[in-house]
């Protein structure tokens, strides 16, 4: 018979082409649509059509025309129709549809049906498709089952359903009675595993739905008393019961029905642990008194659970998550980290993945404990799975500190050695963070540090972004010990300038990063190297030849290389004596004076002009770059601070704010960046010809530009003159009175979940280098403007800073001020709560 579901499925599967499949499906879909429209179609036929429609649903076809039909089937008295009707309703309808009101009566009838399987269908469907209205209308029926039913099968479903209804309509909390749960707990015969799952779910739902639960988490030590908290207090009574159930589950050995590879019902164990976690997140005395017991139990679970299979690992993982989420005592935290470290040593990738992920988040809580396991972490750098390598990289940088620097950086270089082109993102991530790491930590062995960068360039130079290349150049430029500089540059030139194919270090042709750095070093340090380390390989001719070669290779299509070559040619010409070489270099520049690329053309024309200057003048213009001082905000800071925040979901407010401040420290350099001074000073030393110097400086342009836009000229006398334009508005309120500064807030406006306001800083005595850092609670986001007019505030004068906070909750602020006053640097910090809320 051609019309059965089976033959329809067969037809679809048998179709040879996509077009054929589509046509079969469309034809059948049209047929079903017509059939269902026929009011006289017998139920049996309707059922068939709905079954086909469900198949269409799985295929991702339109099925809306069958929605009403599900309800018709549910209305039937026959079980077979009801079962299909409910199944179809759950698939074809969703919680957003008005159609659901049609279900109210049917569900109401079926929830009170004498046949428990029909009640079960109704409960399942109500749990799946509940709207606010359905929750209100049908809760009494579900409650009735909770109250009277002694069948664990229905009870578990009623509990799940109740949990969902409470989540849908929070006002049900007022009528929900914990008595039902008490009596279930008391009756051991009905308190099966699945009923316990249901109870857990209800308790979770009550906690989460409880008005202000999340606020409670945010505020420290809010007292749970009075009528309002009655239901929570009732819930707390179950904590001992949950603890003892969990304990007995964990020690129980085989219970065939619930056994998962030797572990007794890991589902229920995890569910109870999670429920308890939600309870203990509330930091209230009524709950706190059970805390010791919970901690004991967690450590018992951590020691006793067999972690050789996923089922056991799931429980251990849940235990570790709970320990860190509640930020329990240190011994437990160490235990948690050991659990995760053990995961790393295993072979299962999933387990490694969750372990790395979790460790990454707990580094701020237990840095040393995590660091202890760095061997395992480093091993994951070479895992075949890219997501594990990525996590391991992030974690490596997160645990990196002064003591572990050398070891971990060596591991990272090993990683780069083994990395392939597929790892491009990981490589970029590594290099970016390496640069930042070396900025953050003082490295005593400069030579080692330079060797590392040389190695990095050699290995992955082709992946490094221009911006980071600039950073590496700065690192070479800023080398303190001249010997080290000569050492590293010579080493690099030796490789670049030799034609030796058998050399130990092979630079691939596409390694532009290496080439750019070589070019720059030739221009910058040729004289230095020639003076100390000239050789067969490194000499005036070979350097000139190198530039010529790269110019001919890249001259027409890579403007960045060309720009570097031009600058290097110009610089090199002032540092060597060989006339032929100088002429060759001049030719390189001359050749580009008609370059179609305007930038290059302008540059070469200008360089040409410099070239024709007398040698002495050239020399002074083309002197080596001065030491660069800079602070660059890198985007990774943001990711790190995210990690930071996430890892302490319930830590007290003050801590969070502190964390935020800590993170911002490193970024605040933006406001007092020193780079502009650098440009200023280089201009002032060579006033007669500042333009070419600027052009040379644009090798670093990516960094310098960042500052030109944002940085305020700090402490320069010129900026003092025009600054006193800020006046205090009348609505300003004093929020802090410090040693040299009074802080006011003003112009607070709140709308659409975001608040704008200004902070005014009035100087009691003259203040310079003022920087203001602020933090807001976790639920909010802060955007700060820069200090206006200046970071220097004269006596009695004002400077202001605008702020924007978006998010939710009460508006509060922690402010950290740093400034110099009368030659003393001051650090002050204060908190302010605004009357406004978001």
């Amino acid at each position: 018979m051609g019309s059965s579901l089976k033959s329809f499925i067969k037809d679809v599967r048998a179709s040879k082409t996509l077009a054929e499949e589509r046509s079969i499906i469309q034809k059948e879909s049209a047929k079903i649509r017509t059939k269902l429209r026929d009011d006289h179609l017998p139920l049996e036929k309707r059922r068939k059509n709905i079954q086909k429609l469900l198949y269409l649903f799985i295929l991702g076809e339109k099925t809306h025309f069958g929605q009403v039909e599900c309800i018709n089937l549910i209305a039937s008295d026959e079980f077979v129709n009801k079962r299909l009707g409910y199944l179809a309703a759950m698939l074809l309808l969703d919680e957003s549809q008005d159609l659901l009101t049609l279900l109210t009566n049917l569900l109401n009838n079926d929830l009170n049906h004498p046949n428990k399987f029909i009640v079960s269908l109704a409960l399942t469907t109500l749990g799946f498709l509940s709207t606010l209205e359905l929750a209100r209308d049908l809760y009494p029926d579900v409650e009735n089952i909770l109250k009277t039913c002694k069948d664990p099968f229905l009870l578990k479903q009623a509990l799940q359903c109740a949990a969902k209804l409470i989540a849908k309509d929070v006002s049900l909390l007022d009528i929900f009675s914990m008595e039902y749960i008490s009596s279930i707990f008391e009756n051991h015969a009905i308190c099966t595993h699945s009923v316990l799952l249901g109870i857990s779910k209800v308790l979770q739902s009550i906690l989460l739905a409880y008005p202000g639960y999340l606020d409670l988490l945010r505020e420290d030590g809010v007292e749970l008393n009075g009528e309002n908290h009655q239901i929570l207090n009732d819930g707390i009574k179950f904590i001992p019961e949950l603890l003892s159930r969990l304990q007995s589950l964990n020690v129980k050995s085989s219970q065939p029905d619930y056994d998962v590879k030797g572990i007794c019902d890991p589902f229920l164990q995890c569910e109870i642990i999670y429920t308890l976690r939600l309870f203990f997140l509330l930091d209230v005395p009524e709950i706190d008194r059970f805390k010791n017991k919970f901690e004991d139990l967690l450590s018992q679970i951590a020691t006793d659970t067999d972690g050789s299979k996923t089922s056991g690992q799931a429980i251990l993982y849940e235990t570790a998550r709970t320990i860190f989420s509640l930020d329990l005592e240190q011994p437990l935290r160490i235990l948690g980290i050991n659990i995760l470290a053990k995961f790393l040593s295993g072979r299962d990738n999933n387990v490694k993945y969750v372990a790395l992920n979790t460790l990454l988040r707990v580094v701020p809580q237990e840095p040393t404990a995590v660091q202890r396991h760095r061997k395992f972490i480093s091993r994951c750098l070479h895992d075949p799975d890219i997501s594990i390598r990525m996590r391991a990289l992030e974690l490596t940088f997160a645990i990196l500190d002064e003591n572990s620097l050398v070891e971990l950086v060596n591991e990272l270089v090993k990683f780069l050695e083994s990395a392939s082109g597929d790892d491009k993102d990981l490589i970029i991530f590594t290099v970016d963070n390496l640069v930042e790491t070396f900025e953050k930590f003082k490295v005593h062995d400069e030579k080692w540090k330079l060797d590392i960068f040389l190695k990095v360039l050699e290995l992955v130079g082709s992946f490094i972004t221009l911006e980071k290349l600039g950073d590496i150049l700065i690192i070479i430029n800023n080398t303190e010990d001249l010997q080290n500089k000569i050492y590293v540059v010579s080493k690099m030139l030796k490789v670049s300038l030799s034609n030796d194919q058998d050399s130990v270090i092979q630079i691939f042709d596409d390694n532009l990063g290496w080439k750019l750095v070589t070019i720059w070093c030739i221009g910058e340090y040729a004289d230095l190297i020639l003076l100390k380390n000239a050789s067969e390989i490194i000499n005036e001719e070979s350097m000139t030849k190198y530039l010529l070669k790269l110019d001919s290779e890249y001259g027409t299509y890579d403007s960045k290389i060309t720009q570097y070559v031009l600058t290097a040619s110009l610089k090199l010409s002032s540092k060597i004596d060989n006339r032929k070489c100088i002429e060759d270099l001049r030719q390189i520049i001359l050749n580009h004076t008609k370059d179609p690329n305007l930038m290059i053309q302008v540059k070469s024309v200008q360089y040409e002009l410099i070239f024709s200057q007398p040698r002495e003048i050239r020399k002074s213009i083309l002197a080596s770059m001065p030491i660069f001082e800079r602070k660059v905000r890198t985007p990774d800071m943001d990711t790190q601070s995210n990690v930071h925040q996430k890892s302490k979901p319930v830590a007290s407010n003050a801590d969070l704010l502190l964390d935020l401040l800590g993170d911002m420290d490193s970024s605040s350099g933006q406001q007092q960046g020193k780079a502009p001074e650098m440009t200023l000073s280089s201009e002032s030393t060579k006033p007669e010809n500042s333009k070419p110097t600027d052009l040379l400086a644009d090798i670093f342009s990516s960094n310098v530009n960042n500052f030109n836009g944002k940085a305020e000229p700090v402490g320069t006398s010129s900026s003092l003159e025009f600054k006193s334009t800020v006046t205090l508005p009348t609505n300003a309120t004093k929020i802090y009175d410090g040693k040299a500064l009074i802080v006011y807030s003003g112009d607070v406006t709140v709308e659409n979940g975001s608040a704008n306001f200004e902070l005014y800083f009035e100087a009691k005595s003259s203040v310079t280098d003022l920087s203001c850092q602020s933090a807001v609670p976790k639920s909010q986001k802060l955007t700060m403007g820069s200090l206006y007019p200046s970071a220097s505030v004269g006596h009695g004068q004002l400077s202001k800073q605008s702020m924007k906070v978006s998010g939710s909750g009460k508006l509060k602020l922690r402010v950290k001020l740093k400034y110099n006053s009368e030659g003393i640097s001051n650090d002050e910090q204060f908190d302010h709560k605004f009357n406004e809320a978001l």
Partner: protein, 156 residues
């Protein structure tokens, strides 16, 4: 704490064999998720871990013979390792029900697969029953009832 957002069964050829959504999403959104996930999951190598970050949530998947079982899970709530066990429970239960389940069983008897799944996961994708036996008993009893045309006979 099991709060699965959706469960998809996708064949190695990229065909959807079962889909169940525990969160309500517009159809085009569902189609997009299925399309993107299919290509992500199918292209992952066997050695890779079974957890993928996908948009604002994570996805846990596991391959059984020719079928991929793919679960979207709720960040911070779901336990990735436990989700793998949930998937495994589902597969085991179907395996017992059909007797050595294969892709074809699910294609032709998707209703049964849904029945089993609905007994296991309720509401917002929360695990309601952890015993395989209970689920099978329940589904089989309902199957028998279906065969009886008149409800009354079964009731007694």
């Amino acid at each position: 704490m099991t709060q699965i957002k959706y469960m998809l069964l996708i064949s190695r050829q990229g065909k959807v064999r079962l889909q169940k959504w525990y969160v309500s999403l517009p159809n085009n959104e569902k189609t997009k998720i299925i399309r993107n996930l299919t290509s992500i999951v199918l292209s992952r190598k066997a050695k890779m871990c079974n957890i993928v970050e996908f948009g604002d949530h994570k996805v846990v998947y596991k391959r059984y013979a020719s079928l991929y079982f793919v679960c979207g899970i709720t960040q911070e709530v779901d336990n990735e390792l436990l989700t793998l066990e949930v998937i495994h429970r589902f597969v085991e239960t179907m395996d017992t029900y059909f007797g050595n389940v294969c892709e074809l069983d699910i294609i032709f008897n998707f209703e049964k697969a849904y029945n089993i799944l609905d007994d296991m996961l309720m509401c917002d994708g929360s695990l309601a029953e952890s015993s395989k036996k209970e689920i099978l008993n329940h589904v089989k009893t309902m199957d028998t009832m279906e065969h009886n045309d008149h409800l009354d006979r079964v009731l007694s």
